[in-house]
Symmetry: C2
Subunit: 438 residues, 2 copies
């Protein structure tokens, strides 16, 4: 620092006093001393902005700290670090940009903002020179952003597979446990507080896609455009498929998949069959895990609670400690928000990737039916690894499970469309990718 005496107290302006915001206040009150002993620096809550100043959040704060004017908190010269926990891409976007423009460091948990406005936000951070930290945006309390930004700095990232939405993982785990259908389990999850009243952001995969964009942008060194991410949610997963997958040694998980293939990178979100013996298959309930494959370190995996008041607050506090350390040492920008190194700059379609597939066809229980399906698959150069006909009869149709060898996804899509046009088919074919992690 230019000044002679280094400061030891850093003042925090908190934007958004919701569940996570109250968690940050709570955790800071309980662990501020510990952080001070560990870092030598004191984090002091200076202002809290929220539109609702009356609601009881279960934490005690001096009312004089509260204000409705978030912009004034950002501009308050006494505020050293801005914590943005408003969420969404409206006011949060403007306030984060405002802080960065004024050279003020920002800690945020806002995955939608970082994913949908990656180019704008990361460019603003780069121009600003101020720190932008966002550990809480992916994997809640799991320090996975830190691992990717710093711990794996010597690695080209080959792939990332993430279970990063606790709501979906909870629903899939419960569906497997109880063998009840999606809608029923969703309703129970909503009652238990594990799913929102409007669950679409979670169950349709959008939230997972936000996190995929953040992980992929960090891994590959350029802001990935959110609209390039192909997304499937979990509404189409049935207990029947969970059971059949289980009989074959697999579990169905909603995965964020990021990898580089043939000179470009692929970012997608979809349910996938993964072998039960794989670590990711053991991730149950609201837990999250991210498997990162680096070319030097090999596979590493990070596991923990992906959401919740305190885990997320813990991630925010670790960012605050980092930012305060950087302020103390005059080391803003020590770890840039996003380093552009563009290892693989092009985002490719999932259609151009290869994987094995699980297909569940609805076919009449008569000779020769499978031959028609096999012919179509063969014409699309899709090689069958195994076929099992199941007992569950639905009218004259029975389920037939086909596992394929690795095949081009585009060809699989065409083949399934063609199969579903056959008059013998009783219901649209169900298709899930099998992820082999190799």
């Amino acid at each position: 620092m230019a000044s002679g005496v280094q400061r030891r107290v850093y003042r925090v302006g908190l934007l958004g006093f919701g569940v996570v915001g109250a968690g940050v206040v709570d955790a800071l009150q309980r662990r501020g001393d510990l952080i001070e002993r560990r870092t030598g620096l004191r984090l002091e809550l200076h202002r809290i902005a929220d539109i609702d100043l009356e609601r009881d959040r279960g934490v005690r704060v001096d009312r004089s700290l509260l204000t409705r004017d978030a912009a004034a908190v950002v501009d308050d010269p006494a505020v050293d670090i801005v914590v943005e926990l408003i969420g969404g891409t409206g006011a949060a976007r403007e306030l984060v940009l405002q802080a960065l423009q004024r050279g003020k460091p920002v800690v945020t948990a806002n995955k939608a903002l970082l994913a949908e406005h990656a180019e704008e936000i990361f460019s603003a951070a780069q121009r600003s020179g101020a720190d932008l930290y966002y550990e809480a945006s992916v994997g809640g309390g799991i320090p996975v952003i830190r691992a990717l930004r710093e711990g794996l700095v010597a690695n080209h990232i080959e792939s990332i597979y993430g279970i990063v939405n606790g709501t979906c993982n909870y629903i899939l785990t419960e569906m497997e446990r109880s063998m009840r259908p999606f809608q029923e389990v969703l309703k129970a999850a909503q009652q238990a507080g594990y799913a929102e009243a409007d669950p679409s952001l979670d169950v349709d995969g959008t939230d997972t896609a936000h996190r995929a964009v953040i992980l992929g942008s960090l891994a590959y060194g350029f802001p990935i455009a959110f609209d390039k991410v192909e997304v499937e949610g979990i509404r189409q997963v049935t207990p029947l498929d969970i059971r059949y997958a289980g009989e074959l040694g697999y579990r169905i998980k909603l995965l964020a998949v990021i990898s580089h293939q043939g000179g470009g990178i692929v970012v997608g979100v979809h349910p996938a069959l993964i072998a039960r013996r794989h670590m990711l298959a053991s991730v149950s309930g609201v837990f999250n895990a991210v498997l990162i494959r680096g070319d030097i370190v090999g596979d590493t995996l990070y596991y923990g609670k992906g959401a919740g008041r305190l885990p997320t607050a813990g991630a925010v506090l670790s960012d605050l400690a980092d930012v305060a350390r950087n302020l103390h040492f005059g080391a803003a920008g020590r770890v840039p928000a996003l380093v552009r190194h563009d290892t693989y700059g092009e985002v490719r379609s999932l259609g151009q990737t290869y994987s094995r597939f699980y297909l569940r066809l609805s076919l009449p229980d008569r000779p020769g039916m499978l031959a028609q399906v096999a012919r179509i698959l063969g014409e699309h150069r899709i090689s069958i690894a195994s076929v099992v006909q199941k007992e569950e009869r639905s009218g004259e149709h029975v389920p037939v499970i086909i596992i394929t060898h690795a095949t081009l996804e585009a060809g699989m899509r065409e083949a399934v469309a063609e199969i579903d046009r056959l008059s013998i088919v009783g219901a649209p074919t169900v298709r899930f990718r099998i992820v082999d992690f190799d």
Copy 2:
């Protein structure tokens, strides 16, 4: 920094050109450009010291870099950062202390040094003001030290459970797979290069204990004395117990266990039964994993390759990047090697802890035998949860498996000693802890 123009090139003096040393050279040659793009800083290999200058390590280095004089490398004013990969507590200790005394930052993978001379080394780092980084000392390429030092800064650590010795985990995994005895599997592991010619450091638990000391010291904020750690290795694990444990839903793993209980902390190394559905039970072969329970974040788990040339080199390079960033910003000491905060300053005996136990007794297949055992257990206030008599007969004796409820370890030790003095007992009782993670 005081000077006007900040440096962008930092010179590395490498001490020890063995397997990991060659890995660091290799990784730096291959990924130095990537690290430079990500950090803006260039790491340059300036000198390499080793006693053997002739052996081919499979990497190309300019012979003019090589020297037998490690102390001269440390003292070379052109060397900005010292990397210590000699290992052991002899020359390595002196060289690390020498570097720190001269205010020169050190990166080391030396777990024996940090564990057996924790007080001396961490004190020297504190006095020095120079950085001491040691990510590679625990968990190879897994960024678990970083998680503990920085990511979980807001947490009191409640417990740590680690599978941190790849050799032991490989042997236990192979014993389960093949149901062959320890000695046979050890021999195969030695032939495959997964175990040393003298395996005792690994299989007797010393290496795991080194890592337990490092993790525990970081978690609880004081250097834990190595001789306070109670250590059991895996020589006494048999395929029979692995099978019986499996039938009961458990797997046997060698665990480093660090926790705080009743105002003190406990650090131990021992084989333990863990539920097969738990994430740690899925860690197989040479992989490592560390489960850290923080009071804010809950459980987080870190998994990856715990050893090997490149994974370990990757961890060394991430430390080098960190140290170079700190030099660049004049931020040495940004993250102290060990912050003394002494949350729980006393190390207690495992004997004072509670856990469930698995006992395998060798009893005659006659009525009334179990009653004698049950009486002794009862006298030591040990409550039996289940008893199973097995078929495998050895002479007139049969194995009897007892699972107890949670009980004081000291009492269990006494009870087992008393049981083994009974004339009816055919062989010493086998006793393993069951770790429940709750």
